[in-house]
């Protein structure tokens, strides 16, 4: 069974989403909140595609025989660029000084989609960092609310260290302790949640800049040419 992705035939197994089938076929659909290890979430909307003329998130729409899916069209990449700009301005992202620069999916996707400026006015939210944990640092300024850490901690680590609170533009990541400090949770540096963050919120301490800028993941090849 197969469907067309940007005019190319992509095989699929019934039950697979468009994203899963595309990944298996080595095709890149831009995404941030999706990771093949975890249940689809569908919140970042970067993977918005056009299925037989209708918009849908590739990570949640099931593949069907003969469907015609637009992915990297100018129209869709334009929408994705705007979504990226939204993510950049709602948080505080300073790529040049960020430890995750070069390993960051948000930054890499922005390069891939040729985002040249943030376009919108910055929101400059006030988001204090949490350095309480002996081995991990949380810099909430960079959070894009993808909930990968929420899912990894809950579904893989069985710990529920992370959760979301607030609503609307005030939605924010919290940790599972009344003090609000990561040190007061059972988070360990070996948890899956510690390494799942696509941006630079969850960082290992004392590892800063161990790999030099220029030798990092997306310095070597653009995100669209890397295994997903």
């Amino acid at each position: 069974m197969s469907f067309l992705l940007d005019g190319e035939e992509v095989p699929f197994i019934p039950g697979q989403t468009i994203m899963e089938a595309a990944r298996a076929a080595g095709k890149y659909i831009p995404h941030l909140c999706w990771d093949h290890e975890f249940a689809p979430h569908g919140s970042c909307k970067l993977c918005t595609v056009k299925v037989d003329g209708r918009f849908g998130a590739a990570c949640t729409v099931a593949a069907h025989e003969g469907m015609n899916v637009d992915n990297r069209s100018a129209e869709l990449d334009d929408k994705r660029r705007t979504l990226l700009q939204m993510l950049f301005v709602e948080g505080n992202h300073f790529c040049p000084s960020c430890e995750k620069s070069g390993d960051c999916k948000l930054q890499a996707t922005a390069y891939e989609l040729k985002m040249m400026s943030p376009h919108f006015d910055h929101f400059f939210p006030d988001r204090p960092v949490d350095a309480s944990h002996p081995e991990l640092l949380l810099d909430f300024n960079r959070c894009i609310l993808c909930e990968l850490c929420v899912r990894a901690s809950r579904d893989t680590d069985g710990k529920n260290v992370f959760a979301l609170s607030g609503r609307g533009i005030k939605t924010h990541l919290i940790v599972n302790s009344p003090s609000g400090r990561l040190a007061d949770t059972d988070m360990a540096a070996t948890d899956r949640a510690a390494s799942v963050c696509p941006v630079g919120v969850i960082l290992r301490k004392r590892r800063g800049f161990k790999v030099a800028i220029g030798n990092r993941t997306y310095d070597k090849a653009p995100i669209s040419e890397q295994p997903q």
Binding site: T48, M86, L164, S165, R167, I169, I174
Partner: protein, 596 residues
């Protein structure tokens, strides 16, 4: 109140709710009502007792407007910020109240006595300005009432001792049709349905061509059939009484004077789909109706209309009421189900739809209050009779909640197909500039379109009908709606979370006379993105009022533009205002010559 007292109250509330984690929202509400805020120690206790992670409890408390982790005042006053009530002077009254209390809106007074702020429309558009004080509804506010209320707050008089007439909510039924004049005794419709049998009753609903009254207009018969056919251990009926669309208050009136009909409709739905349990999700703003609804349920139980083996038929059915806590998005059926399960009200990924995977994963039919009430009429008089009323694709009648610039605001029942002009004439509106049909997420209709019909074929509506006369500024209307959506976005998906705030900011920028035609293009661009990429209907429709008014009332925007070319967003003179304040200067030399 001391920490041990908090613990004792929490323990009692947990006990009353059987330490059931799906009742988390109800537990938080009840504790808030008893204590006045939600201390962390209480959240820790809840998490421990319900065996939930602390973050989950804090996440739920942080989602709903009426909950929240910060301390509220001992008196918490929330003014309804519906545009209609703003037109009636709610903002000036709220400012007056704040001035008299020496507080800033949205902030708690230094002594912790009182906070005054705003909340989204509380469903009193026909008798505003209205407010909530510690969850209780006060209508028809005036300057005199503000003055007396401030005195009562200062004197620390319990809300229960305040003048009774302040809490009066009137029905204002102006035009009755088959629904509001039903003339049925409690139990008659259920008896008729049971005489038909479940399959035949469902066939009548299909034949009646009944469509959902919440606005989307999905076929009720198809929904019930899909739910009935879905495999599952248990089936559920959910009544969506989360009437949050600004300007809508018809469900409030149905729940007040027609509660038996609504509950009976739920029973009929349960009978058709094979459910033994019904849940009514009552919006938090209608808390004052809770007691009355529980009393109606109790009467129905004693009459043998709810419970085991109803009418000796072997049909078991009972109904439970859940209260919301201030979240418009919970009107979306999958978000409502999440909320019923005691979670943050975030819409689910669909498919699967609730008819197959709903409450606790079981097949669930979610229906609007009015839809369920209509089912009773169909049980008695049959589908063919019902389908003959209204228009080809919109059978039956529709309740309209009319508010704004008209002589007789209130509830009007019309057969589908009535023109906007007819409704305007009936409610005593003159010099009408525009009508917002179905609230902010609906359609703004200009004077040259008043011949259009209220029906799914033309102007679909959840029931709001907001009237604006020639003296109103349609830009201000759209700006109010933009603020509403930014406040009510659940924050789950990027386009809606950030987009609603960007739209709000752009509208404020235009209002501050710093906009340019570029900003107007930006509004169109954001609308296209949100309509195509948002996760649910809230985001899809959030730009409707802006785009509608841009297309139909463009001069209201353009007169706010300084230049048709370019206007910098940065105001140098404004930037100096802090320096002026610090140096205590306000002379001419402290201002820029070209200041606006």
């Amino acid at each position: 109140m001391s920490a041990p007292q908090h613990a004792e109250i929490t323990d009692a509330v947990l006990g009353r709710n059987s330490r059931d984690s799906t009742r988390l929202l109800q537990i938080l509400r009840q504790i808030l009502e008893a204590i006045g805020h939600l201390p962390k120690t209480v959240l820790v206790q809840i998490a421990r007792e319900l065996k939930l992670p602390y973050g989950r409890v804090a996440g739920v408390a942080g989602f709903y407007h009426f909950l929240g982790l910060e301390a509220h005042g001992h008196y918490r006053v929330l003014w309804s910020d519906n545009i209609i009530e703003q037109m009636q002077g709610s903002v000036e009254l709220c400012e007056e109240m704040c001035r008299r209390l020496w507080i800033e809106p949205g902030r708690v007074s230094e002594d912790g006595l009182v906070s005054v702020g705003y909340t989204s429309c509380i469903g009193m558009g026909d008798q505003g300005p209205a407010l909530l004080v510690n969850g209780r509804t006060v209508t028809a506010m005036t300057r005199e009432r503000v003055a007396t209320m401030v005195d009562l707050i200062r004197a620390k008089a319990p809300v229960a001792s305040w003048p009774r007439e302040w809490f009066a909510v009137t029905d204002n039924i102006r035009r009755r049709g088959i629904l509001l004049d039903h003339g049925l005794d409690a139990g008659a419709a259920l008896k008729a349905a049971m005489a038909r049998g479940p399959a035949a009753m469902l066939a009548e609903i299909v034949a009646a061509k009944l469509r959902g009254r919440g606005g989307a207009g999905f076929s009720t018969g198809q929904k019930w059939q899909a739910c009935r056919d879905a495999a599952g251990e248990a089936h559920y009926v959910v009544c969506n009484a989360d009437e949050g669309e600004p300007g809508t208050f018809k469900d409030r009136v149905l729940l007040t004077g027609y509660a038996d009909l609504v509950f009976e409709g739920m029973s009929i739905a349960g009978y058709c789909v094979g459910a033994a349990r019904g849940l009514l999700y009552l919006r938090g703003e209608y808390q004052y109706l809770h007691e009355h609804l529980e009393a109606t349920l109790a009467a129905r139980r004693s009459a043998g209309l709810l419970g085991k083996n109803i009418g000796g038929s072997g049909f078991d059915f009972d109904i439970e009421i859940h209260l919301g806590a201030g979240a418009y998005v919970c009107g979306e059926e999958s978000a409502l189900i999440e909320s019923l399960e005691g979670k943050r009200g975030t819409p689910r990924i669909r498919p699967p739809f609730p008819v197959t995977h709903g409450y606790l994963g079981h097949p669930t039919t979610v229906n609007n209050v009015e839809t369920l009430a209509c089912a009773c009429l169909i049980a008695i008089r049959g589908g063919a009779w019902y389908a003959a009323i209204g228009t080809e694709k919109s059978a039956g009648t529709k309740l309209m909640s009319i508010s704004g610039d008209c002589a007789r605001p209130g509830i009007y029942e019309y057969p589908f197909g009535v023109t906007v002009a007819q409704v305007l004439a009936d409610c005593g509106a003159s010099d009408t500039q525009a009508v917002q049909v179905s609230g902010p997420s609906g359609i703004c209709v200009a004077a040259d379109e008043f011949g259009r019909r209220l029906a799914f074929e033309d102007l679909p509506s959840a029931g709001a009908f907001m009237v604006f006369d020639d003296g109103r500024d349609m830009f201000e209307v759209a700006r109010n709606f933009a603020h509403f959506f930014a406040e009510e976005s659940c924050g789950f998906c990027t386009p809606c979370r950030v987009g609603t705030s960007l739209v709000k900011n752009l509208m404020d920028k235009l209002n501050a006379r710093h906009g340019s035609p570029h900003d107007i293009n930006e509004l169109f661009k954001l609308q296209r993105l949100m309509q195509s990429a948002a996760h649910c209907g809230l985001g899809h429709t959030a730009c409707n009022p802006v785009v509608d008014t841009l297309n139909k009332f463009r001069p209201a925007y353009e007169r706010r533009l300084h230049s048709m070319e370019y206007e910098p967003a940065f105001d140098l003179d404004y930037a100096l205002s802090q320096a002026r304040q610090m140096t205590g200067r306000d002379d001419a030399g402290a201002h820029l010559e070209n200041a606006s």
